[in-house]
Structure formats: structure tokens, C-alpha cells
Amino acid sequence: MSNDTSCPNDSLQLQSKLARVLRRARELQPVSAGSTPARDLPHSGTATLYRYGSGEGIPLLVVYSLVNRPYILDLSCERSVIGALVRGGITVYLLDWGYPGPMDRFQRLDDYIEDEIDCAVDNIVARHDTDRISLLGVCQGGTLAVCYAALRRERVRSLITLATPVDFQTPQDTLYRIVRHVNIERLTQALGNVPATGLNTLFTSLKPFQLLYRRYLRLAELGDDEQALQAFLRLEQWMYDSPDQAGAAFVQFVRDFYQANGLVAGNLRLCGKSVDPTRFTGPLFNAYATADHLVPPAAAKALANLTGSLAYHEAEQPGGHLGLFISQHAHRRLYPILVEWLHQCG
């Protein structure tokens, strides 16, 4: 390595670039998220049920994860999953779980399924004068959707799962490695609801160098690209806008899904019944990302062997977890196929 005098200056240049971008970012905040018009509908549960689109299209209920906020699906008009579906003639219903508070501490997964998903399905079925609707589950919401389809198969026309884990003990599953020895009952007893900051810490600690340093260093490269900076800020806001987790539901999810791997082991029970994914025989569209560090491909692909679907379709996408929802590739390739598939399923 030669001794070049330009070296000391480049860190200063980077810092000054970063300072300029940070100042501009500060001016741009707060950024707005959500681009598709929505109506909230009467819903008897504690969640909010939104409708996107005319109400005349094919009804599709989106079941999102409890861990983050669902507006990642409609972050901006250029990369909106909901927008793409609505433009494709689908009437999208979305269950927004909100932010569980101290009084939701004993809310269980059973409650989310029986009182929220099932009530929303009741509502949509009545509005569309049909007996079954399509379900789209995202990440942990996909796992809940798989369980719901197994428990109430007569209500589900077709099932779509995006980045959905079903086998929680695959070799690449880092989350499993961390939680497998945790006494989750005791931890939740100490915490009550599980604070979002704790979960965010866990998630960032899976990729700390990427998420806490590289990500912000790259911010300097955005320079004068206002649109890119806004997109960055929107995603940044979403990443850490996380709800606390209702204690009882969190215990169930970690214990029954991660630690006991209930769906694969075949011993999962919800709503007083055994959850058997083979009971759902309708069309199933399972999409996952190849470099997903939260839901490794194998964790999602395992659904092929668990489901009873007679028309199973699998879609592999390049990139990471979030890329499945906001990447250009997914919006060019995945969502047009998904819309067509939904039309074929009726």
C-alpha cells in the first residue's frame, strides 16, 4: 500500500456530505406514507378493517404481521403492493392490528384468529354476497393465515403467503437459534407486553453492520436525490414504527411456532382445535425471497410439503425480506403474476 496523502481527507469529505444529507432529511421530515385511498369499515374486533378499491372487485383480505405496521404494503405510489392489486381489479381489505396497549396483555393468537380474522371474513363475505374469499398473509400474518385456512377452510377460496415461515427450525433460521433457549413465559411475565424497542433490537442485532452502519453511510451517497431521500426516510420511519406485542400472543408464537415448531410437528392447537394445514385444499400461492434473513427460503418453502392444496404455486424472488414488497423486481415480476393468478382463482 503506498502512502497517499489523499487518505485523511476522504473521511472529512464523507462526513461533510453526510451532514448535508442529514440536514436535508431533517427538513423533509415528517414524511407521509400510504398512497392508496382507503375506507375504514365497521369491525367488531379491536383491529381496524380498511377497504381499498371500488368494492366491486375480487375480495382479498390481507392479514399482516403483528410485529410491524402494514403500511409497508403501501409505502409510496411507485412501490405499493396494495396499489398494484387494486389496479389489477382486486378489492383489498386490510386488517390493521393497531398498537396493543397494557390492557391487551392477555390477548392470544386465538383471539386474533377468532375475533379479528374470522369477523373480518364474515364482514367481507356479507358485503360481496359470497361464501368464501381469498386471503393474503404477510410474514407472521401469513402463518396466521395458514392456520386460519386450516381451521376454516370452507371460508377461504385461495391463499397467498408472502415471506411466510411455517418451518421455524431450518438450519439458516437465526431467530430460532436465539430464542430456542429463552424462557419465554418468564421473560413475558417480567415484561408484560413485549416492548417494540426490544424486538427492534433483536431484529437489528441479526444484521447490525448492515442496518446500523452501512445503511446510514449510504445515505451520504443520496446527495441531492430528493426522491431517494424521501423513500429512505419513509422506510426508516416504517422500520422502527413497531407496535408492542401482546404478551400472551407473543408467548404462544415463540413457544408453539419457534420452540415447538408446531406446524411441522403436527401438534399445534389454536381456538381449541388441532391446526392441520393439509385440510386446506384450495389454490395456494407461496412467494419468498432468496436472501431473506428473517424468513429463510427453506422456512417458507416447507409449506409445499405441509399444505393439502391441490393447486400449489411457488414464486421465488431475488433479494431480502423487504424486497418482496418494495423492490422494483417484485413490482415488475411478482405482482402482475399474482393479480393474474387471483383472477384465475375467481
Binding site: 473521511s11 464523507l14 396483555r105 436465539i178 430456542r180 418468564r186 411475565q189 408484560g192 433490537t201 453492520f209
Partner: protein, 280 residues
């Protein structure tokens, strides 16, 4: 255990303790920052190896201090609570008489039991924190040695100096790779789990001691809040069951009404409110 607790029993110390307990990532952040500060120092001094080594050692020291501060803060609470025990005051002058040798006697036996439990969980937390710090220390060393090896390997092939940013990117790349390896090892995730479990035990023991204090102050305790939460949960469930039953009843009544209408041949009956029932 900290002896001069009186000097440490400031509210900000206790607040600091709670923050420290929540800041599971503080230690990791130091590791992350170490790379940048070391390389920035290198950019100034041009002494790469020395700068890296010094900064990583500083970061490790900082790490130990973080853990020590958390533990010290818990000790403050422990000592604060122990002031209530008369037996402690009587035995205090005899330095050789260790706290764990006290039998549970006197009117504050329950409090003493709670404090002993807190002490045990604190020991457990210290052990787990030490184990985690050791893992982090090994991670440091592994990252540093891998980075140095790669720098040495690449140096003869490089014709121009790389920028600080390039060096830092390289550092992050090596650190990420090493960290991933640790995450997939047996011991590192176990150390995290052990720390989380010990932290939960400590927090529960602390809550018990604090609950005593809150009850004494007439403030709602953790136990009372939990009781309310359970009660509300029961009420909610009952309300949902009642609502569903009511909905079923309404549906059945509607069906009955429709059947009645179908059997009547005349025009559909309309109901109207009697005049005397008119309300504003």
C-alpha cells in the same frame, strides 16, 4: 457488593439502571463504532494497526464498564431496600458477617426473603453478562485478526491507497462475516439466551421488591395492574361471547319473521310507533 451505597442512591442512578437493562444493544454498538473511529484515527495518524488495536481495547474496556455500571446500579437498589432491615443494621458493624448468613428473622422476614432472591438473581445476571461480554470479546478478537490478516494479504497487491471509506467498508464486510459465524455457533446464541433469561429473573425479583415499596407508598403495584388486566380480559371475552350469542339470536329471529311473512297471504305488515310514544 458496593458498600458506600449512600453515595449512589440518586434517582438518576436508578433511572440509569432501568435504561441499562433495556439497552441490550449498547455493547454491540460500541463494537460497531470501534471500526470507524479506529479507521478515522488511522486517516489522521497513518498508524493503522496501532490505531485499530487501541480503539478496540478502549471499546472492550467501555463494554466492561457498561456491564459493571448496570450491576452497580442494581446494587444501589439492593442496598436501598436493605436499609429497611433492622437485622442488617445490627449486623453491619461486623464486617465478617456476610449478608447471606442472616437467618430470616424479625418482622420483615418476607422482605428479607425477597432481597435474598434479588441478590441471587443479580449474581445470575452478573454471570450471564460476563459470559456474553466474553463472547463479544472473542468476536472482537476474531474480527480484528481476520481484518489484519486480510490487510496483510492484500497490501502487496495494492498499488494505491484505499480511502478511509473503502477500508471501513472492508472492516464492515469482515465484521459482518465473522458476526454471522458467531450467530450460527452454539455458544453465542446460548450466551444471548442466558443473558435474556437472567435479565428476566432479575427484573421479576426487582419488581417484587419495588412492589413492596409501591404498596407502602399507596401506589398501584405490578400485581394490581396485572389483576386489572386479567379482569378486563375476562370481561372482554364475556362481552364477545354475549355479542355473538345476541347476533345468533337476531339472525334466528329474522329468519322466524321471514318465515312468518312468507306464510301470511296479505300485504307485509308494517309496525308503527303508537302516538303516545312520540318523543322529541
Amino acid at each position: 457488593m458496593q458498600k458506600d451505597s449512600a453515595n449512589h442512591s440518586r434517582p438518576e442512578e436508578i433511572q440509569g439502571l432501568l435504561c441499562d437493562l433495556l439497552k441490550g444493544q449498547g455493547a454491540l454498538a460500541i463494537l460497531l463504532a470501534a471500526g470507524w473511529s479506529a479507521l478515522a484515527a488511522f486517516a489522521r495518524d497513518g498508524e493503522a494497526a496501532t490505531a485499530l488495536g487501541e480503539h478496540l481495547n478502549q471499546a472492550l474496556e467501555q463494554l466492561h464498564e457498561e456491564v459493571a455500571r448496570s450491576v452497580e446500579s442494581v446494587n444501589v437498589l439492593l442496598d436501598l431496600a436493605r436499609q429497611l432491615l433492622s437485622i442488617d443494621r445490627l449486623a453491619h458493624p461486623f464486617a465478617h458477617f456476610a449478608a447471606h448468613c442472616y437467618p430470616c428473622i424479625g418482622p420483615l422476614q418476607k422482605e428479607q426473603t425477597n432481597l435474598e432472591a434479588l441478590q441471587r438473581t443479580l449474581d445470575g445476571y452478573q454471570t450471564a453478562a460476563l459470559r456474553y461480554t466474553q463472547e463479544l470479546g472473542e468476536l472482537y478478537q476474531a474480527t480484528l485478526s481476520e481484518y489484519q490478516q486480510e490487510l496483510t494479504r492484500r497490501a502487496p497487491l495494492e498499488r494505491t491507497t484505499r480511502s478511509t471509506r473503502e477500508l471501513y467498508d472492508h472492516w464492515l464486510e469482515v465484521a459482518e462475516r465473522t458476526y454471522e459465524r458467531f450467530l450460527h455457533s452454539e455458544t453465542y446464541p446460548q450466551a444471548i439466551s442466558a443473558l435474556l433469561n437472567a435479565w428476566a429473573d432479575l427484573r421479576l425479583a426487582l419488581q417484587t421488591v419495588l412492589d413492596e415499596l409501591f404498596a407502602y407508598m399507596g401506589l398501584p403495584t405490578r400485581h394490581a395492574v396485572e389483576d386489572t388486566q386479567r379482569h378486563l380480559d375476562r370481561l372482554r371475552r364475556q362481552q364477545r361471547i354475549d355479542t355473538i350469542r345476541l347476533q345468533h339470536e337476531i339472525t334466528a329471529l329474522r329468519k322466524e319473521l321471514a318465515a312468518l311473512r312468507a306464510t301470511t297471504t296479505g300485504p307485509p305488515q308494517t309496525t308503527s310507533r303508537p302516538d303516545r310514544d312520540k318523543r322529541s
